[in-house]
Amino acid sequence: MTLSEIHYPHNLQELLLLLEREKKVQIIAGGTTFGYIQASRYLSFEPSIAYIQHIPELTSIHKTERMISFGAACTLSELEHVYPFEHKQTKELMHTIATSAVRNIATIGGHLMYEKRFLTLWALLACLDAELEFKAFSKTSSKNIWYLANESGLPAIESDKLLTRIRIPLQSIDHLFIKRIGGSIFPDGDGAYLVSAATVDRSSIANFKLVIAGARAYRDYDAEQRIISAPYPLPTKILQNVLRMYAESLRKSNFWNVELLLPLISQALEDMQRSNR
């Protein structure tokens, strides 16, 4: 059993100062991941830990006309009533993470910064173009959520970075397709989520994304562009062409099961074809 020094910074400035002064500080918000994963009675952390769930800047939710922004220390339960989780399908997805007694404590920051794999909400937030704000003592940077994945689609979490806020552009979601594949996803199961989302006008698709995330994250930008540039509903020829593109890129990834995923992608596209009729 190793004992750590516990810090309770009162505000963001104090936390950033602490992270600047001591390079190896482990951030604890809900802490449920540690409590769940560590089977022994006593928990182990880095020699220095900072508890952040009471820091006002990290627990606020702001909504403007164009985007919603929530602090990384917001609990999953707190997000249930705001975009994009107020919709039936996305709320159900949130509920698959864990029971409410876990969601009342676990935070969105902990969910996204899990080092081993991409957890339940990752694919959805990637489809919605979520932006992550990271802060250090002297600089703030904003990165697309794909910053958390490397070129091979593996998690690339830099544990010394402090995730402060998650911003999602508000958009009309006319088509949303969510499918879970495989077994459990947390802490190290073989499960993954396939999510596709689109904004559909009368005769065109304004926005389309399809993301698969679990042990790795996957997306085919070229196939998405092909869909966006096509008329809506997609002509059969283009649909088949897009499916071929997905089949090829899935095969190239040398990781995903094409035979399993291609029918689901086809199902997602068919669902989108019906979404605005």
């Binding site: 059993m1 190793t2 004992l3 750590s4 020094e5 516990i6 309770y8 604890i28 809900g30 802490g31 449920t32 540690f34 409590g35 769940y36 089977a39 009675r41 006593y42 928990l43 182990s44 952390f45 830990i49 508890y51 769930q53 009471h54 339960s77 509920h95 864990a98 029971t99 409410s100 007694a101 876990v102 009342n104 404590i105």
Partner: protein, 159 residues
């Protein structure tokens, strides 16, 4: 490290380390008898507490999270009228809740009864899922909660 938090209405001062789980501090230092840690995975519900009015598993919570929070266990409710009403509603018709889940189920019921006048059925079901007990059908739990709320509302109206 010394921390303070509110436990069942009174301020508690305890000494914690980073290695302790909230459950262990509540049982060993605060002498809470209703909690136990059967699974240490947030599954069984026998460690369930209310933290700032919401259910949480104390077995997967580091103790350091308790600082400045409001914690309630079933001990805070057992002498109240609401508890007696809910208890008799749940046990109506001979339904026996298994003893290992009883505290958790009563605590979740009390949280619902206190928080809202008209909880939605899916809210009741998802609350019960925190300590699912095969002995109690979700519909029976929902009826017990709703009947208790109704009894309390009627009692408030009666002069």
């Amino acid at each position: 490290m010394n921390i303070e938090f509110n436990l069942n209405g009174s301020t508690q001062k305890v000494s914690i380390t980073s290695a302790e789980r909230a459950l262990d501090v509540l049982v060993r230092q605060c002498n809470i008898k209703s909690l136990s840690g059967a699974c240490l995975e947030g599954q069984c519900g026998s460690c369930l507490i209310l933290i700032d009015d919401r259910p949480a598993y104390s077995c997967i919570m580091p103790a350091l999270l308790l600082r400045d929070r409001r914690v309630e266990t079933i001990e805070n409710f057992t002498k109240t009228r609401e508890y007696s009403l809910l208890y008799s509603e749940i046990n109506k018709g001979g339904t026996a809740v298994c003893s290992s889940r009883q505290n958790a189920i009563m605590l979740m019921g009390m949280a619902l009864v206190r928080r809202t006048l008209a909880p939605a059925q899916d809210e009741i079901f998802s609350t019960l899922a925190n300590a699912y007990c095969d002995c109690l059908a979700p519909e029976d739990f929902a009826n017990a909660v709703l009947n208790t709320i109704q009894h309390l509302a009627t009692a408030r109206k009666t002069p």
